[in-house]
Symmetry: C2
C-alpha cells in the first residue's frame, strides 16, 4: 500500500503555465519569470481517491494545496465528534490557509471524488512571496477573498431561510462551474445530500424536500446527483437575490 509507482518527473514541472486554472489560482498576475520560480516549488501529487484525506485536524501543516481536478470538502469536528462542513472546493481553489496561524490543520480535507491537487510547501511559498510582489499580493487577495466569502456565508446561516440557503448554494455552484468552463446550468453534485444539509445547517430531510419542491416549481430538475437549472432567475428569486415586486415566496403556493 505504501509502494508507489514512479512518478513522471517531467509532469511535475511546468505545472502552472499550461494549467487551465491559471487565472483562478495562485499564479494570477505573476510575471512569466516569477512563475517559473513558483513552479519549481510546487509538487503535483498522485491523484487521491474518493474519501481519502488530504489532511486531518491536528496534522502539522507542511504545505497548502490547490485543487487541480475533482472536488474536496473541508470540515471541522464539533466537541462531540460530529462534523461540520466548512466548504466544498473546486479546481483552482486553495486549501489549508486556515492552518497558517498555528502551523497545524484545524480541519480535515477529504476528496469527494478522485481528485488531484498541487502541493505547495508553505515555508518556501512564504520565502518566495517575500521576493515576488505579485505572489504576495495574490496570496493576500486569496485570503481576503476567503474571509469575505465566510462573511457572506455567515449571513446565509444567520438570516436566510432553508429555501434561500439551498437556492444560494445552487447558484454558487453554478457560478463556480461556469468560471471553470463547465456548464452553469447542468452539473453533477459530488457531495451527498447529507453533506449539503450539514454545510447549510439543515437536516437532510429538509434538503431533500426542498429539492423536490424546487423541481415541482420548475426551477431545477433533480435526478439524484444530476442537477439542471431550468429557471435561473427563478432560482435567484428564491435565493432572495432578485427583487420581485408584489410577490414574495413564489414557492408558497406550490407543493
Amino acid at each position: 500500500m505504501n509502494i508507489q509507482p514512479p512518478v513522471d518527473i517531467n509532469g511535475l514541472k511546468q505545472a502552472c503555465r499550461n494549467c487551465s486554472l491559471y487565472d483562478l489560482c495562485l499564479p494570477l498576475g505573476m510575471a512569466e519569470d516569477d512563475l517559473a520560480l513558483l513552479e519549481k516549488i510546487i509538487n503535483r501529487r498522485r491523484p487521491i481517491q474518493r474519501n481519502d484525506h488530504l489532511y486531518r485536524p491536528g496534522d502539522r501543516m507542511i504545505s497548502i494545496f490547490a485543487v487541480r481536478s475533482g472536488s474536496v470538502k473541508t470540515y471541522t469536528l464539533t466537541d462531540d465528534g460530529q462534523e461540520q462542513i466548512t466548504g466544498f472546493h473546486l479546481p483552482g481553489e486553495l486549501l489549508g490557509l486556515d492552518a497558517i496561524s498555528d502551523g497545524m490543520h484545524p480541519c480535515a480535507a477529504r476528496a469527494l471524488e478522485t481528485t488531484s491537487v498541487c502541493e505547495i510547501p508553505f515555508d518556501r511559498l512564504e520565502d518566495l512571496s517575500a521576493r515576488i510582489p505579485g505572489l504576495q499580493r495574490q496570496l493576500f487577495r486569496i485570503m481576503s477573498r476567503e474571509i469575505q466569502n465566510d462573511e457572506l456565508f455567515m449571513m446565509l446561516l444567520g438570516k436566510k431561510s432553508s429555501e434561500e440557503r439551498l437556492a444560494a448554494f445552487m447558484l454558487s455552484l453554478s457560478a463556480r462551474f461556469k468560471q471553470r468552463g463547465f456548464s452553469p446550468t447542468e452539473f453533477n453534485l459530488t457531495m451527498s445530500r447529507n453533506d449539503i444539509a450539514n454545510y447549510l445547517g439543515l437536516a437532510v430531510e429538509t434538503v431533500s424536500r426542498l429539492f423536490t419542491r424546487f423541481d415541482n416549481a420548475g426551477i431545477i430538475s433533480v435526478r439524484r446527483k444530476l442537477i439542471s437549472i431550468d429557471d435561473m432567475d427563478g432560482l435567484r428569486r428564491v435565493a432572495g437575490l432578485l427583487r420581485t415586486p408584489g410577490e414574495d415566496g413564489i414557492l408558497d403556493n406550490l407543493g
Copy 2:
C-alpha cells in the same frame, strides 16, 4: 465639519513600541528596527464617537485599521437592506482585511463606543511586508486566524442551539477581555441585545430570555449591560465545551 484641529504630530510616532497591545497586534514578532519602519506608516487617528462609521460598504479601501481602544462592530447588508453583524472587534484586532481582494470594503465598521484606531495605509503595508519577513508572516497569520475563527463561527451557526451560541459568545468575550488585561469574569457589553441577537442569528427576545435563564441558573449575573460570570465551568458546560457525563442540558429543569 471638515475643519479639524491640528493633530499632535508627536503622538503619531512611536505608536507600536509603547503600545500595550503589542503582542496581540500587527507588530508581534518583529525586530526593533523593523518596527520603527512600520510605525512610520501608521497614523493614529482622532477618536471616533459611538455610531460613527470607520467605513461603509462600497468605500474604497485605502487603509486597514487596528482597534486601539474601544470597540467596533462590522456588518454587511443583506439584499433587502437589513444588517448582518459579522464581528465585534476589541483592541488589537485588525479591521478591513476582507477588503483587500476587491480594494473595496464589502462591509461597514461602526464604533460601539468612543473608539480610537490606528490607520495603516495598505499599499505601504504591502510594500513593507515584502521587505520585512516578520511582518509578512504576521499578516498571513492574522488573516489565517480570521479564516479559522470564521470556520468556528460557521459551526456555531450551523450546529449549535441558541443556548450554546450565547454561552459560547460570552466565553469568547471573556477570553478576549482576559487577553487584554481586563477581568474575564466581569465586563460591560458595549453592544446592544439586538446586536448580539443579530450576530448569533437569533431573535432579540430569545437572547433576552436566555440571559435571564442563565442568570436564574446562577451561571452569570446580568444587570443590563454589566455581565459577571459566576460559574465559568457551568457556562462552558452550557456552551457544550465541557463534557458532563450523565447529564446534558443543565438548564432544562430551570426557569
